[in-house]
């Protein structure tokens, strides 16, 4: 019952918040904050009771459309518990970060809560149809978050985001149905390990690849990300980068690899090539950006390239590294977007040349931005390094062509290039005219960032705090891949 509560509590919250009269924005705020905090508490309670040794736990299964084998089937294992925790945590932070939202607050917080329902749902659904329902459900609130509270080109960005992801996911639906026709059920766990015919696996993997790659995003399907990020309000950006990108990679790890191991091995070289290109391409474009948010958006493309590299490697190190990058990218990029948002609230500009000398004028903001940037470029001791290093190890260890791994390693250097050249201009140097009058972060804003800083350090220094959860599951998936 715990998992259903975690998913549907925010749904109830969303409905209640939507019904709150329009002028009582503060009431809506507190409801949203209360609901998300309780949800986080439930997830933490779940994590504490979670036994690392066993596989799927807290399972709930109720028949829904029996003759198609569709069932309301929830369950949590090592990987989904980490993502669920990230989703719950970032939701709380997103709500608190938009505390001063004035335009239509009730609708805004209702959308945030609805978003959390979708995100939590995806990570715990074990039935394809349920997974697809939550997968698509996430699109609607994000469309309205970007479309209504976004920046100048919000309409174009929101519809582009919606159509891009919908295009990918409908092909995924075809893949799901094809799998159903072959396996006779929509249950994900029952399907992993089935010896499906090779060519069939290949085509279904292609369908899933399209659906997930758009979400990750992998080069060349990524052009929706910068627009969506630049136009989305801060909280939406945090959730979009923090969690929604991970739904794609989670899809690969939960669905594509275990169920279609043979095809996964066949596709590995292609995915590695795309991943390496994404890393370098994302880094190149981040380097060329003039808008801070766009820079962080393109850095996400580069980081998610590492995740795909880890997934394509199919080795224990690679997959653990992939999940580590997913987790750390969620935390670090969440921090980056929060700080950029806070700076934007004060200076009303995101152009890199207008913002400089933060460390002088607002040392706390400057310091935290520098800290987040160093975590993002993969400085050892911070969580960014864990994933990237393990992915490189895994990629080198796997049968993937070495050239791509070298390119990915160069990607680490390029990450340092664009991050530090941003830090140079924005954090260091003399305060620019826009920065010279602003005040430093309030206690509320700092309180938002502290948990993320703590997480970055704990995972960065003691890797097992994260690997303890993911390693058992990864070992099983690797065994499956080796078997195919």
């Amino acid at each position: 019952m715990l998992l259903s509560a975690i998913i549907f509590l925010p749904l109830v919250g969303a409905i209640v918040t939507a019904l709150v009269p329009k002028d009582r924005g503060d009431l809506a705020r507190w409801i949203a904050a209360g609901v998300t905090t309780i949800d986080l508490a439930l997830v933490v309670f779940l994590a504490l009771k979670f036994d690392v040794a066993q596989g799927m736990q807290f399972a709930e299964k109720v028949a829904w459309v029996p003759q198609f084998g569709i069932s309301y089937n929830l369950g949590v294992d090592g990987i989904s518990i980490t993502m669920l925790f990230l989703s719950a945590l970032l939701s709380v932070i997103a709500v608190v970060a938009s505390w001063k939202m004035e335009t239509k607050p009730t609708a805004y917080f209702a959308m945030l809560l609805l978003l959390e329902v979708g995100m939590n749902g995806v990570f715990v659904a074990l039935d394809f149809v349920l997974f697809y329902v939550f997968w698509e459900l996430v699109l609607v609130p994000m469309y309205f978050l970007i479309g209504t509270w976004g920046g100048p080109r919000k309409e174009y960005a929101s519809i582009k985001f919606f159509l891009y992801t919908l295009f990918g996911s409908v092909f995924m639906l075809v893949g799901i149905i094809a799998l159903y026709l072959q396996a006779g059920t929509f249950d994900i766990t029952a399907m992993s390990g089935l010896g499906l015919p090779a060519t069939f696996q290949w085509w279904v993997f292609a369908a899933f690849f399209l659906g997930f790659a758009v979400k990750v995003p992998v080069f060349p399907l990524h052009t929706w990300l910068p627009d969506a990020h630049v136009e989305a309000p801060t909280a939406a950006s945090v959730l979009l980068a923090g969690i929604m990108l991970k739904m794609g990679t989670y899809g690969f790890i939960r669905i594509a690899l275990p169920i279609l191991p043979h095809a996964a091995n066949q596709w590995a070289p292609f995915i590695t090539a795309l991943a390496a290109i994404s890393i370098v391409y994302g880094a190149a474009l981040a380097f060329a950006q003039k808008d801070l948010k766009k820079l962080v958006a393109y850095s996400s493309v580069s980081h998610m390239g590492f995740v795909m590299l880890g997934i394509a490697s199919g080795t224990a190190e690679g997959l653990n590294g992939a999940i580590a990058v997913m987790f750390s990218h969620g935390v670090v990029t969440g921090m980056l977007f929060l700080i950029v948002g806070m700076v934007y609230e004060r200076t009303h500009t995101r152009m890199i040349q207008d913002v400089s000398g933060l460390s002088h004028q607002v040392p706390v903001a400057g310091g935290l931005l520098a800290f987040a940037s160093f975590a993002s470029l993969g400085l050892p001791g911070l969580s960014g390094f864990v994933g990237e290093f393990l992915t490189l190890l895994g990629a080198w260890k796997s049968s993937v062509p070495a050239a791509w791994v070298v390119i990915a390693a160069i990607g680490v250097l390029l990450a340092a290039a664009y991050t530090l050249s941003m830090v140079q201009r924005v954090v260091l140097g003399t305060p620019s005219e826009a920065v010279s009058k602003i005040t430093d972060l309030t206690r509320r804003e700092v309180a938002l960032l502290v948990p993320l800083v703590v997480l970055t350090l704990t995972v960065g220094l003691y890797w097992n705090s994260l690997l303890r959860f993911t390693d058992p599951v990864v070992t099983r998936i690797v065994a499956m891949l080796a078997g195919a």
Binding site: P66, Q67, I159, F162, V170
Partner: protein, 456 residues
């Protein structure tokens, strides 16, 4: 109870129709006729549910199997909700009395169509269902566009139903009897059998506005008042779908190439419907083409030729009819141009929320019923090896998101007039009911589908 009693819903509708004509004389209020009609339709729906499945009656003329019962109930509910809305809003300048009578008669015709097992009864009930639709489409007597639209609908529909009748005559000729049982039993009659099937399905394609026989729909809808379009685009179409499924089952053994015909029609409808809808600025014309597209999806299910495919076709048509009627009713309240929806979120947030649920259901986004309809439909089609068509359907539903979202974008992101339209409780209740069904029907997909598949 005797066979006569099985058709209480029909009697109720008939009584309702006549009573509606004179209700205003008894009760002074304008909407009284529609309200009475709504009450009778609801009673008809309840009694239809109570009666349930029955064996053949009236010497093999009518039969109430699972499909007929489901569609009967759906038709009755839809017309009840429509009349409830009519009681709230009325037909604009015109009197709503005659409209109520026409609606009830058309629903009656629909019910008979679905239950008929004989060519003659089928022909008469089809005519009974369509003729009120002609009048409804031309309801605004003094508007030349409405009349022109109605005339186009009349002429094109009459031509195709004559072709269908011609087909019926051949079917009768081959089998020697008009009863479906005998027709099913006669061996296939080669080319003549194929021609007769073609003629029959031309008529049905026209009624369902499937390409390339859909020409009347865009012009007729664009001319007519949105209220009448709400009814004509859903109830007769649902009845037509049920008849098409039944005839497909009947004629398929004799004409092996029939599923391919459906596939071709489906492809044309999906492509033409979705693409032509893209540049539309009038909601009625947009929904006309959307109707063509959704008929395309329904035909895709039919082209699977399997029991699951047929059940999916019926289920999908219901899943299409409910939200479309609601959207057209909303358009009737807010205005027929897409720009009339501008600023809807500001002035009527609840209505805007409803619009989101309805449009997303038509696109096929979960958790609305549209997605389950498409899921079931694609499963049946893929099972029958229609991969190419399914991929076209999938891409086209993404394209459909494009034009449906133009309405949403107008509603949420554009500034429009701020004064609200007058509050009419029955109308809002009607739309809310339809939205509730759109949201919740998905959960009952399982039992509903098992019930429908039992009929084939």
């Amino acid at each position: 109870m005797s066979a006569l009693a099985w058709f209480i819903p029909e009697y109720l509708l008939l009584a309702g129709a006549f009573l509606a004509l004179f209700a205003e004389l008894i009760v002074r209020r304008e909407g009284a006729g529609a309200a009475a009609g709504a009450l009778f339709a609801t009673l008809a729906a309840l009694s239809a549910v109570a009666i349930g499945v029955r064996p053949v009656a009236f010497g093999g003329m009518l039969e109430l199997d699972q499909v007929s019962v489901t569609v009967r109930v759906a038709l009755a509910v839809l017309s009840a909700v429509y009349l409830l809305w009519l009681a709230g809003r009325g037909m604009g300048p015109e009197r709503s009395r005659e409209a109520t009578a026409l609606v009830l008669l058309a629903t009656l015709g629909g019910m008979l169509m679905v239950a008929s097992r004989d060519l003659m009864v089928l022909f008469i009930s089809i005519e009974l269902a369509t003729m009120p639709a002609y009048v409804l489409m031309g309801y605004r007597r003094d508007d030349e566009h409405t009349l022109e639209g109605a005339l186009k609908y009349f002429l094109l529909s009459m031509t195709t139903s004559l072709v269908m009748l011609y087909g019926f005559s051949f079917l009768f000729g081959i089998a020697g009897s008009t009863s479906f049982g005998v027709i099913a039993a006669t061996p296939s009659a080669g080319l003549l059998g194929a021609f007769s099937a073609v003629f029959v399905f031309v008529g049905l394609f026209a009624k369902m506005s499937a390409a390339p026989f859909h020409y009347w729909a865009p012009d007729a809808y664009a001319g007519a008042s949105p209220a009448s379009v709400a009814f004509v685009s859903t109830v007769p179409k649902l009845a037509g779908a049920a008849v098409m499924v039944r005839l497909a089952v009947l004629l398929a053994p004799g004409v092996p190439a029939l599923p391919t015909v459906f596939a071709v029609a489906s492809l044309l409808s999906m492509l033409l419907g979705n693409l032509a809808a893209f540049p539309q600025s009038d909601v009625r014309r947009l929904m006309a083409y959307s109707g063509v597209a959704h008929t395309g999806y329904m035909l895709l299910a039919l082209s699977a030729g399997s029991a699951a495919g047929n059940a999916a076709a019926i289920y999908y048509t219901i899943a299409y009819a409910v939200p479309s009627m609601a959207i057209m009713l909303l358009a009737a309240e807010e205005g027929t141009a897409v720009d009339d929806f501008a600023g809807l979120a500001a002035r009527r947030p609840a209505a805007a929320g409803v619009a989101v649920v309805l449009l997303l259901s038509l696109v096929g986004v979960p958790p609305m019923v549209g997605m389950f309809g498409k899921l079931v439909l694609f499963t049946a089609a893929l099972d029958a090896g229609r991969l190419a068509l399914v991929l076209v359907a999938v891409v086209m539903s993404v394209v459909s998101a494009g034009y449906y979202f133009r309405i949403l974008r107008a509603a949420f992101f554009a500034e429009g007039r701020t004064e609200r339209v007058a509050r009419a409780l029955p109308a809002s209740v009607a739309i809310m009911a339809l939205t509730a069904v759109t949201l919740s029907l998905g959960v009952f997909t399982g039992p509903l589908l098992r019930w429908l598949t039992a009929a084939f």
